[in-house]
Symmetry: C2
Subunit: 320 residues, 2 copies
């Protein structure tokens, strides 16, 4: 039985996802201009930068500068990605919203390829993150399970393996007397299909009925919004997405790695179905065009070309 | 309750949808090469050309030549679009599969804009088509309701109006003692969302439980595959789609008119969910690359870039 939410929360990841993967240099000014424009669309959470090794990801070398220069807007949190304790420490020197967050990959080969750590080593690091957060009074807000549907190195991932990873994360939290408030399931390299989403969400729900769930979906193979719809139909009300479809994973191991699902396409689909997003769709479309101008090549978003439907609503039309 | 089909039938419309809208000239040889490649992928129905006014659509001036030169492949039907009796007569001079087909637009303003005929005039023409088919022993195989979800001229279309149009078509068939075996619902200019699909399919099913239904979906606003998934979840087992996402409607009244949903993305989604399509996905991806080379610019298909998952299936992997 479909169980659609009345409204959803969107974590906009376009600036980080997109500018991280773009081959050409993006100026710090352009990054700030784009991030601040997004922060004025009604989006309440905008991921601005990642604190990763600038040798591996030169495009994020100005992460601290961007973070310090961003103007605050009421009700908007700027967030960041960090992959290890060192990244977290860097993030905490900035005014960004930096909650504690655990992360693990369902696929162990992907984990080794992406972070250099196997599952056991990852869990050791998560313990360090928890200890660090406890020592610095930083609440653990969420955890993410990457490659929750499959990856190019391990193939399809069975829901049972994802449940095992969640248990492992909950285990290290329990060691410190903590519980997990919010879990994100990530289709990191675009392996999900709508029924796999339904199946995994169902399996997690059955085991932990009160755990809040979010989806991080990539549109590598065209099923991104269908996967989001499947999540919505299961009541999922938190999504990561990228304005204009910016981005992609530079370490995903294949050329076609596409970005997150497109924010304005997601907002359009939701609002058309009566699911509120709180986002000004026209302002968001303007951001998508800005992103395209900044990167200097077409981006995959559809709505930015097709246009919203608001200008076509005729009071005397066939809408009845 | 979801009611997925075990297999679907795909009507490939890429050659007609795509080559009709491309601004540059496409050689007759290239059209034939592409159509015949599609006919060898397992697709059983490939729309090759449209018999429309060559003054309005110069790219289809070679329709008869293409139709006559196509090599037959066992189990494959080549089809065509025609919009009026004159087009039908032209189509019947070729070896193409040309069944009788009725057509109407839910939106009357769209009908006037697209064909120059209002609903009443369209019904008069449908009577002429029926009479012609009866006289020439051509079975009426299907009907299509265009703009079944909305259009830029009339706004959103309520399911009640679509039911009325279906009744009108059934009425003219009944005048000749005929019934309607198969109905296609078309989101001609990309107004549908997944819940609108579910709602309309449900309304039609409730009224005519035995009427076979198909969906013709355009991906103008990114929701195409999500809409297809909604149709699948209602048991719809016939879809129109375009290889590589070729195409679009040249008369849709706005710049962003995008093509049909992308065939290989649809095939991928279905096969990943265990819904059989009978299509060789790798051969179809090769066709998509051929289409891109022929038109000389990027096409919107995702899977052709992301790649299928078949090469990543590891017998010893996490698939369990």
């Amino acid at each position: 039985m479909a169980d659609f939410p009345s409204h959803i929360h969107i974590h906009e990841e376009g600036p980080r996802e997109g500018f991280q993967i773009e081959p050409g240099p993006i100026s710090t000014d352009d990054k700030i201009r784009f991030i601040e424009a997004l922060a004025q669309t009604g989006l309440r959470e905008v991921q601005a930068v990642s604190f990763v090794n600038p040798q591996r990801v030169p495009s994020m070398a100005d992460a601290e500068t961007v973070a310090h220069r961003l103007r605050p807007f009421e009700g908007v949190q700027y967030t960041a990605v960090w992959l290890n304790l060192r990244g977290l420490e860097r993030a905490l020197t900035t005014p960004l919203h930096v909650p504690g967050r655990l992360q693990i990959s369902a696929s162990e080969p992907f984990s080794i390829s992406n972070t250099g750590k196997n599952t056991e080593q990852t869990l050791v690091e998560q313990r360090q993150v928890i200890a660090y957060c406890l020592a610095h009074h930083i609440p653990i807000e969420s955890a993410i399970v990457m490659t929750a549907f499959g990856c190019n190195l391990a193939g399809h991932i069975a829901p049972a393996l994802v449940l095992q990873r969640i248990e492992q994360l909950m285990g290290v939290l329990q060691e410190h007397g903590l519980t997990l408030p919010y879990l994100r399931l990530a289709d990191t390299v675009g392996w999900a299909n709508p029924n796999a989403v339904t199946r995994l969400i169902g399996a997690v729900r059955e085991r932990w009925p009160d755990l809040r769930l979010g989806l991080h979906l990539h549109d590598t193979r065209g099923t991104g919004l269908a996967n989001a719809y499947a999540g919505l139909s299961m009541g999922v009300d938190r999504f990561d997405s990228s304005c204009a479809g910016l981005g992609g994973c530079p370490f995903a191991g294949h050329q076609g790695a596409a970005g997150n699902i497109c924010t304005e396409d997601l907002v359009f689909m939701c609002e058309e179905m009566g699911i509120h997003t709180g986002v000004d769709l026209e302002a968001l479309i303007a951001c998508a065009h800005m992103a395209e101008a900044i990167v200097g090549h077409p981006l995959p978003g559809k709505l930015m070309r097709g246009g919203s439907l608001s200008r076509y609503q005729h009071p005397g039309g066939s809408h009845a």
